[in-house]
Structures are given as structure tokens and as C-alpha cells.
């Protein structure tokens, strides 16, 4: 029995599907079916639009919305995440494969498939080896700066489609270059269609939900109608283009003939040169896609108190991308809006994703002729309206206000993404985040403390009115001790003692010291020796259990000139040689007028 359970739980660990498929009910079935229908309505125009954004043929968007969804359903852990093409990953794909091949060629498509394969292998391996934590190297300011920069680039890239102009360029300078090379003006009819669609979609997004709710629709239904608005624009524009022959008479660019049928099988070509060129973009696409996807999955899971296993998510996304690689797709990840709709529509199990895949397959088989007259301008408009929600200038201001360093990391990433390109921007942002982390730990907050009169509490002498002793300097270091700060700290502490000729004891309060690395241990030994040479004993107080465990048996502890004290108060009481030397330190309040506080005269009962 136990063996059976074990083998079952092991099987569930590999394929989570097995965990819920036995309990699948008719009610689950109807919920999942409804969710799949609604998600499909959103996904059809999105998949066509994002394929266009990636400079790939429209059917590739449809293909990327079939098998990848099944791959995720088999390996992923979220019940609501809707996987498929998304805007940012599509832009990154265009940028990565644009370097190695020309859009429209067979090489371009082969590169897209290889990029999906590399991304799939990388994600699956990260999940398998439980290395999801690597994604944390992308700090929030870097992701935020990247998202805003990428969204602006995406919106600009669609201006050409909306206005019927030959604009391109994956960075601001390249885009500007393509503007200077324009020879003819915008296509009038295309511009009318494009601008009208943008205005329609914005209006729907801003007002329709409220109007529908006032008409008595439930919040959920109102939201579904709003999210389905692009389909309305697609249908209306297809009808208009067909009826008025806008394509042949006015040169409105349309999607054109899409080959119908299920995706062909593709085998990614393992060309070492191509792999070398695509490996870094594939890793960045994977990590960015994962970070975005997992945060959606987590926020949806929290609503039902479920857990999302980040490593399982990695494997799910890896399987999805491998699915894309073998069926003529391109890199995919979890989409924000689709997943929220999927969850709201009641998706109970990953079966909803499999149903969506089936409906997308039907679309690819039967409905492609219907998109022949779909104007590119309408697809461009849906992209612009979707991505402008990613532009977050408020986050820049908020981050800058909260921390100049984080704000700088955000702005540098944003600027470099737009000027130098996506990869340079992300990599510079990551390097800057790491540098800032080291910079922060290298400059710890150090406070000389004194006793708050009448208590056993010790506080910063520069912030509080406290009692000090000339012979004992008590210093609190608010940081773990490591190689980045140890030497500077050593000098700072020696300097503190050198400035106080009467000092005979230095008490290092370690209440905020969570770890001491080997460099810091060496510095403590050097500090101990340097202080000893100056006739000052070094003491430690409030050393944490795990830190003390490590220090036990080290030469530092054997050589320590002073002692280890459990509490700061214990140390100060033991070391104060002359009870009458107690005095109140200068109290420097930020709003002081310079006069000494009333209680600043040395109390005769002061012990320290």
C-alpha cells in the first residue's frame, strides 16, 4: 500500500495531471469548457498580432497556441495560467533572430524554432535542477525598467502598421533612422482604420465595463466582453475590407492567405554557430518569460490558497517551449490578461488549457481563410493597446523616491533597452543590481551607542539622549560582516578608538550581524591585534547563535583580548570601571535649536 502510494506520488511529481484527473467531475468539465471558449476568443487575434510583432507569418502565432498549451498542462503547476505568444517575448524573439536571418526566409523560421528549443531546454533544466532562484538576479527595478522600455519599443514598432508606413527598428536610434528614410506619406485609409481601432479599443477598455455593469451585467461578464473587444474589431474590419475592397483599391495591408491545417512537425537544426548566437537571447527570453509568468500564476493561486512551485513552473514553461520548437512555433510564456480571464471564467484544471489548444487547432484548420482580409493596422492597434498597459512611469517615480540606487538601476535599464537594445539593457541592469547590492553591504550603518537613562536599552548617541563611559566605546554594526565591508569597518572602528584617547574597551554589538565570513573573521583578528597594540580590549556582545557556533574554536576567539557578553548591558556593567564617570552625551536632535535638553546634566546615579 505504502509502495503504491509512493509510486503514485512520484508519478504525480512528474506529471501533476495524474493528481486530479481521477476526481474530474462533470462540473469541472463545464467550467473548463467555458473558460477555454473565452480564452480562445482572446487568443486568436493576439496570436496573429504577436506573430506579426515577431516578424513571423501569422500561422506561426496560431501554431504557438496549440501544442505549447498541452505541454504546459502536462508539466505546469498553475491551474489558471494561459500559455501562448506574449508581446514582450515576441519582441525579444524578433530582436534575437533578426540578428541571424532576414524576416521571411526559411532561415528566419528555423531560427525561431531553434530559439524556442533552446529556451525550452534551458527552462526545463532550470526546473529539473531546482535552479529557479537564478531568476532572482533580475531585480524588480530591472524588470520594471525593461518592461516599460520594451512596451515603448513595441508600441513604436506598430506605428508603421497603423499608419501604413515602412517603419522598423528594434531600438530608438534605429527607429529614428527608419523615419528619416521614409519617402512617401502615410496610407490614408490604413491610418483611419488603425487610429479608429486604437481609439475604439481604448474607449472600450476605459468605459465599456462601467456601462455594461450599469446595464446589469455581472462584473465577470462585463470583463469578458471588454477583453473580447479586439475580436469585434477584427470581425468589423474583415467585413469592411471585404465589402469595400479596401485592400485592392486603397492599398490597405492585410494579413493575406494563411495556410490552413495543423502545424507541421519541425526538428530544430542544431547548428553550433546558430546556437552560439541565440543562447544568450534564449536565456534572457526564458528568464524574463518565467519571471512574468510565475508572478501571474502566484497571484492567481493565492486567491485559492494554492501553492505555486517555481521549479515546476519552469518545467511547465520548458515543456511548452519544447512543444513550440517541434511544431513550427516560437517562444511562449504565460500571458497576464488571458490568465486572469481564464481564472475568472472558472478554469478548474489544466484541462481548460488542453481545450483551448483544441479550439485553436480547429481555428488553424478551418478559420484561416476568414483572416485573409484582416488589416495589419487592426492587429497593430490591438498590440499597442495591450502593451501600453505595461508602461509604468509611476513605478519609476515611486522607485526613485524610495531609493535613489534602485531608481538609477531602473532608469539605466530603461534607457539602455531603448537605446542599445533589449539584451544590453537587461545585462547592464543585472550587473548594476549586483554592484548596488555589494555597494550596500560594503557601507554598513555603524552607530556608537549609549544607555537610555533608567533602562537597559542602548541607542545611537547621535539620535538619542544617552549615557556613555569614556573608557568603554559600544558600537553597533547593522550588517553582516563580510569581505566587502570588513576592511573598511576595521579601519572605522580603529579610527573611533583613536579619536577617544581614554578608551580602554571596544564593545562590538552584533545583534544585526547575521553572518561573519572568513575575510571578516580575518579582519576581526586584525582589529583585535591592532586594538591590543593600542592598549584597547575588544569585546563582543549579543552574538547570534549560528554566528557563535561558527566562531567557537577559531583562533580569533582564543586571541580575543576582551570577552563575549550575552547582552550589551551586561558588557557595559562589567566594563564600566568608574561609576562616577557616567555622563550624558550630547543629544543631537534633527530639530534641536542648539540648547541642551533639560535632562542633559549627568545624573549622579548613572552607572555607565
Amino acid at each position: 500500500m505504502r509502495a503504491q502510494n509512493n509510486s503514485k506520488s512520484r508519478a504525480v511529481a512528474v506529471l501533476p495531471l495524474l493528481g486530479w484527473i481521477a476526481d474530474y467531475s462533470r462540473r469541472d468539465l463545464s467550467s473548463d469548457t467555458l473558460a477555454a471558449v473565452i480564452v480562445t476568443i482572446m487568443l486568436v487575434p493576439q496570436s496573429l498580432a504577436y506573430a506579426m510583432l515577431a516578424n513571423l507569418p501569422p500561422q506561426v502565432g496560431l501554431y504557438a497556441s496549440i501544442v505549447p498549451l498541452i505541454g504546459y498542462a502536462l508539466f505546469g503547476s498553475s491551474r489558471a495560467l494561459a500559455v501562448g505568444p506574449v508581446a514582450v517575448v515576441s519582441l525579444m524573439t524578433a530582436s534575437a533572430i533578426g540578428v541571424v536571418a532576414e524576416p521571411g526566409t526559411a532561415e528566419f523560421m528555423a531560427a525561431a524554432v531553434l530559439l524556442a528549443a533552446l529556451s525550452g531546454v534551458f527552462l526545463f533544466a532550470l526546473g529539473l535542477f531546482r535552479l529557479g532562484a537564478l531568476a532572482t538576479l533580475l531585480s524588480h527595478p530591472v524588470v520594471s525598467g525593461f518592461m516599460t522600455g520594451a512596451a515603448i519599443l513595441i508600441a513604436l514598432s506598430q506605428l508603421g502598421h497603423i499608419l501604413g508606413l515602412p517603419l522598423s527598428g528594434s531600438t530608438l536610434p534605429a527607429f529614428w533612422q527608419s523615419i528619416t528614410e521614409i519617402e512617401a506619406g502615410p496610407n490614408l485609409v490604413t491610418s483611419i482604420i488603425g487610429i479608429a481601432t486604437v481609439a475604439f479599443l481604448f474607449a472600450v477598455r476605459r468605459y465599456l465595463g462601467g456601462v455594461l455593469r450599469r446595464w446589469g451585467l455581472s462584473a465577470f461578464l462585463a470583463d469578458v466582453v471588454v477583453k473580447a473587444a479586439p475580436v469585434l474589431a477584427v470581425i468589423a474590419s474583415v467585413v469592411a475590407v471585404g465589402a469595400l475592397e479596401l485592400s485592392s483599391r486603397f492599398g490597405v495591408a492585410v494579413v493575406g492567405a494563411i495556410p490552413g491545417g495543423l502545424p507541421p512537425l519541425t526538428i530544430p537544426a542544431l547548428d553550433p554557430g546558430l546556437i552560439g548566437a541565440l543562447i544568450v537571447p534564449a536565456m534572457l527570453i526564458s528568464v524574463i518569460g518565467f519571471v512574468e509568468s510565475v508572478s501571474v500564476a502566484q497571484s492567481l493561486a493565492a486567491r485559492s490558497r494554492e501553492k505555486i512551485d517555481a521549479n515546476r513552473e519552469l518545467m511547465g514553461l520548458g515543456a511548452a517551449n519544447l512543444g513550440a520548437a517541434f511544431t513550427a512555433g516560437y517562444p511562449v510564456t504565460g500571458g497576464f490578461a488571458r490568465s486572469v480571464v481564464n481564472h475568472a471564467a472558472g478554469a478548474r484544471t489544466p484541462i481548460a488549457g488542453i481545450f483551448t489548444a483544441a479550439l485553436m487547432a480547429l481555428t488553424a484548420i478551418a478559420l484561416t481563410p476568414a483572416f485573409h482580409n484582416l488589416p495589419n493596422a487592426v492587429l497593430g492597434a490591438t498590440i499597442i493597446v495591450a502593451v501600453l498597459g505595461l508602461v509604468d512611469f509611476r513605478s519609476i517615480v515611486r522607485t526613485w523616491r524610495y531609493s535613489r540606487a534602485d531608481g538609477a538601476a531602473l532608469i539605466v535599464t530603461l534607457a539602455l533597452v531603448m537605446i542599445e537594445g533589449i539584451e544590453a539593457g537587461i545585462l547592464a541592469g543585472v550587473a548594476l543590481s549586483l554592484a548596488l547590492l555589494i555597494w550596500r553591504t560594503a557601507r554598513p550603518h555603524v552607530a556608537v551607542v549609549g544607555r537610555v537613562p533608567g533602562t537597559e536599552h542602548y541607542r545611537n548617541i547621535n539620535r538619542h539622549e544617552v549615557l556613555t563611559d569614556d573608557a568603554v566605546v559600544a558600537v553597533r554594526v547593522d550588517e553582516s560582516l563580510n569581505f566587502a565591508n570588513a576592511r573598511a569597518l576595521e579601519d572605522q572602528l580603529v579610527g573611533l578608538v583613536a579619536d577617544r584617547p581614554a578608551a580602554r574597551h571596544l564593545v562590538l554589538i552584533c545583534s544585526a550581524v547575521n553572518a561573519i565570513d572568513a575575510s571578516a573573521l580575518e579582519s576581526l583578528e586584525a582589529l583585535n591585534a591592532r586594538l591590543k597594540d593600542s592598549g584597547v580590549d575588544l569585546h563582543l556582545a549579543e552574538v547570534k547563535g549560528p554566528v557563535m557556533d561558527r566562531l567557537t574554536g577559531t583562533e580569533f576567539l582564543q586571541h580575543l583580548s576582551g570577552a563575549i557578553h550575552l547582552s550589551t548591558h551586561g558588557a557595559m556593567t562589567a566594563l564600566a570601571t568608574d561609576p562616577s564617570s557616567g555622563r550624558v552625551s550630547a543629544y543631537i536632535a534633527s530639530n534641536t535649536d542648539g540648547s541642551a535638553p533639560a535632562s542633559a546634566s549627568p545624573p549622579s546615579t548613572a552607572k555607565i
Copy 2:
């Protein structure tokens, strides 16, 4: 008056010399003179030997011991540091310029001069812009591993000189390669001289000091005689080679003719290609030289309770290297043994260094013919004995025992220095140190805490016998919150709550949180939202002043479902809904026999 003082203190800040020259006394003069004489006796053989180690002509070692000392005396802050050629920097020089030129050519010498110039500019600029903290990127394990590896390489590189064999190679594989290419056996007479000198120097170092002290010499004088032993070996070998014609009759390699006179003026050739090839080695030489030098200076300064200003040291070493660059020298830094002798001999001011420079100039002018018959084997022996003191296997064991991570960084650096070369080793070590720092901060210690019965203290439920409350989970995080740990922590905390279905409040104890970066703030917001969705309120307790200052006004604080509590006890008292639910958590002592401790039954008076 004030203006005068200001201008004087500003002048002293530029040239520290001006600070003490006015008070210079006759007693200072005699102390400094004695120190200079003793240091010169050590420095002459060292400068010849280290030039040989750097594959440079012997006079270059003498030149590097004249003007650089004056440069340091003018700009440095240590009164005892003895600057000049040192072993490790000589090896690094040989390794760096060996890549761009052949030993013995004019290009080789030009590269040495350029390397000194680059190093001088880099050091001076670091000091000027107060960037000495950059040196902390070299963690102690990396420096320690580098030193041991470099010392082993240096000792091996001298084996050829000692045995009269054509051995070379700046890495273990290259050295092994040169062994396999040997065609003839060792030179017998050279081997006898070399091995005898090594044995003599080791014996002197180990026994002579004790013997001399037993004979009644002062510890200082005994030490001087021991340190001067290489000079005895030099004199004895020069006499023996001359008297017995060992060079012409037995083929003993000797230093040969050294051009006499003061160093020529050299202008470093600013060849962009050469600069590009030497800039990284120059930076590494600078930083390694600085780290070693400043630690010597600091330990000597501590004995007289003086302060060493790291940025001033950088400028002093920068001036010394610029001095080397313009007078046919090569990179220099502060030497350990020489500086200790200088201090012990009573060097009072940097004048001692200037006197040493003058004596070295006299040596270069008048004494070079005396070194004609000096066997290379004797110089090789002095190098081997000097550097084997740098090999520190105990440090490897000690570091590994203290911390596996730091031990691994040390061993990787040591192995790569010996196998791949000095630069690859140091750079890999630095990268590994940074990765470990991030790794450590990414995996904070998190403890669920409970109340120690009868107190207001809260301790880890896994380590102590404490009272907990089903509705309130109190968690202490022993690390600052930043992008490297925020997401994992968010998941961990959500998981803790998901495992406790009765939980209604999560109290995050921030006593060890020294900072919260923008990513962590975002994660706290997400945590707050995720917990709210699960019906759990998030509370903070013991938030530090500077952290609270930052949080004030953020949206996180406005959205916080719970409250900010001054103390953990305050939070627990306020949140415990049912006083009778208090219970004692399982107490897991490491030596428990499984039986519950006597006091483990729930006390009826428990409040939490």
C-alpha cells in the same frame, strides 16, 4: 590666522611631509639613518633577486629601489613602510610583460616601464578619487589562495637557477613542459651552491635568532642579523666564485657585468595596443600590491596608535610606481619583512626611506662591479626562502573548517593561479567571492518563533521550548531584504501560512532587517496581497529606525492589512485572540531522548 591654518592643512593633505619636517630633530635623524642602513643591507640582494624573478636585468632592481622610495616618502602616510621590488609583484610583472615581449629585448624593458606607469596612474587615481574601497573586492580567501599559489610558482621558477637547469614556465603545466624538455643534467657546482645557500638561509632563519639571543644580543639586533643573512651569503659566494674561478671553470651562472651609475630617465611609450594588453595586469598588480602593503602599514601604525589613510597609501604607492616608470624601474609596493625591520630599527619619519634611496643610489653608482661574480643560484635561494613564508596551508585548512564556501573560493583561486595563471586565478576568485556573497544573502535564515514561558523573549521554535498561538505565526528573518532573497522569502512565508490553516496573522520580525530594497518592497506588497487573499493579515514588528523612515509614505504601508508593532511581544499580545489556546510547541533538543520535557504541558496562565 584661520585662513593660514586652512592653507597649511590643505598643503599637508597634499604633501604629508610638510606636517612633520619642521619638528625634525637630531634624534629623529640618527634613528632614521640607522634604519636606512639596515634596510639597505636587506634591500640590495632582494632588489637584484626580484629583478631576476621578473626576468629583468639586475640593475633594474636597484633602480626600482631609488626614486620610488622618494615618491612614497612624499605622498604616503606610513612612517615605516619600506617600498621597493617585492616577490609577488615581480612574478606578476614577469607574467604580464612576458605576454607582449621577449625577455632581454628593449621591448621587454619598455613594457616593464609602461606597466609601472599604468599601475602608478591607476593607484594615484584610486587614491585621489577615494576609491580605495574597490580593493575590498579581493576577499581574504582569494588573496590567501593567490599568495600561496604565487609563492609556489615563484619557488618553482627558481629551481632552475638553483640547479643550473633551463627551467621556466609561469604555470604548473608550462613548468612541467619545460621539465620534459631538459636535455642535460643539473650543473653540480651550481647545485651545491644553491642547495647550500637554501639550507644556510633556512637554518639562520630557524635557529640563529635564538642562538644570538642566548648569547646576550637584544631581540632587535638578533633579528637584524637574521634578516641580513642573505648579504652574508652574497659576500661569501662572490668571494668563493672569484677565488675558485667557479664561473669560468665550472659554468656557474653569475649576475655578470651590471652597468654602474644612477638610473637613466625613461619616458613610458604610450602605445595604445601595449596599454590595452597591460591594463588589466596593471590593475591586478596595483590592487594586490596595495592590499598587501596597506595591511603591513596598518599593523605597524597600530603599534604607535597612528592612523593609516588607505587613500593616502594609494597615492603614495602611485607616486612610487610613477617614479619607477620614469627611472627605468618596474612595479613596486611595500615589502613585509623590510617594513618590519624598518619599524623595529626605529624609522621615525619617511626621511628613513629617502636615506635608503640615497644609499641604494650609492650602491648603483659604486658597488655594481662587486656583484659580477654573484651566482644566480644564491639569488634564487634567497627568493625561495623568502617566498616559502608566504605558503600558508594552515590557512586553507582553517578557512575550509570555518566556512566551506570561503574554503572553496580559496582553493579555486589557488588551483587556477597555479594551473591557468595569476590573472585567471584572481579574476575567478573575485567572481566566486561575489557569487558567494549573493548566494549567502539569497538564502536567509528564517525562524518561526514562540515565547519563552514567563518572559517577553521570543525564540526559534525548533531550538527552544516556547509558547505559540495557532492563529498567529511569528517569523524572524535574519537578513536584509533585497532582490536576491525577496521572491524566495515571499514564497517561503506564503508556504508557512499555507501549512497552518488556523493562521490569521503573520508577524514579520524585522530586528535583523537592516535595509529593504525596492524589489523587496514589491515582494512585501505582493506578500501582503497574497496573504490577504488567503484571509491572513501581515504585521511587522521591531522595524529599525532607518528602515521605517524609508517605508513611511509607501503604498505598501498604506495597503498593509495588519499593523506595525514596536516589539514582538506587543504584537503577540495584541493579536492572540484566545488566551486559552496557548500551548507549548514541541521542543527539539539535539540530545533529546524523545520524551517530552517536564514543563511541556500547556501552562494555564499562558497568554499566547
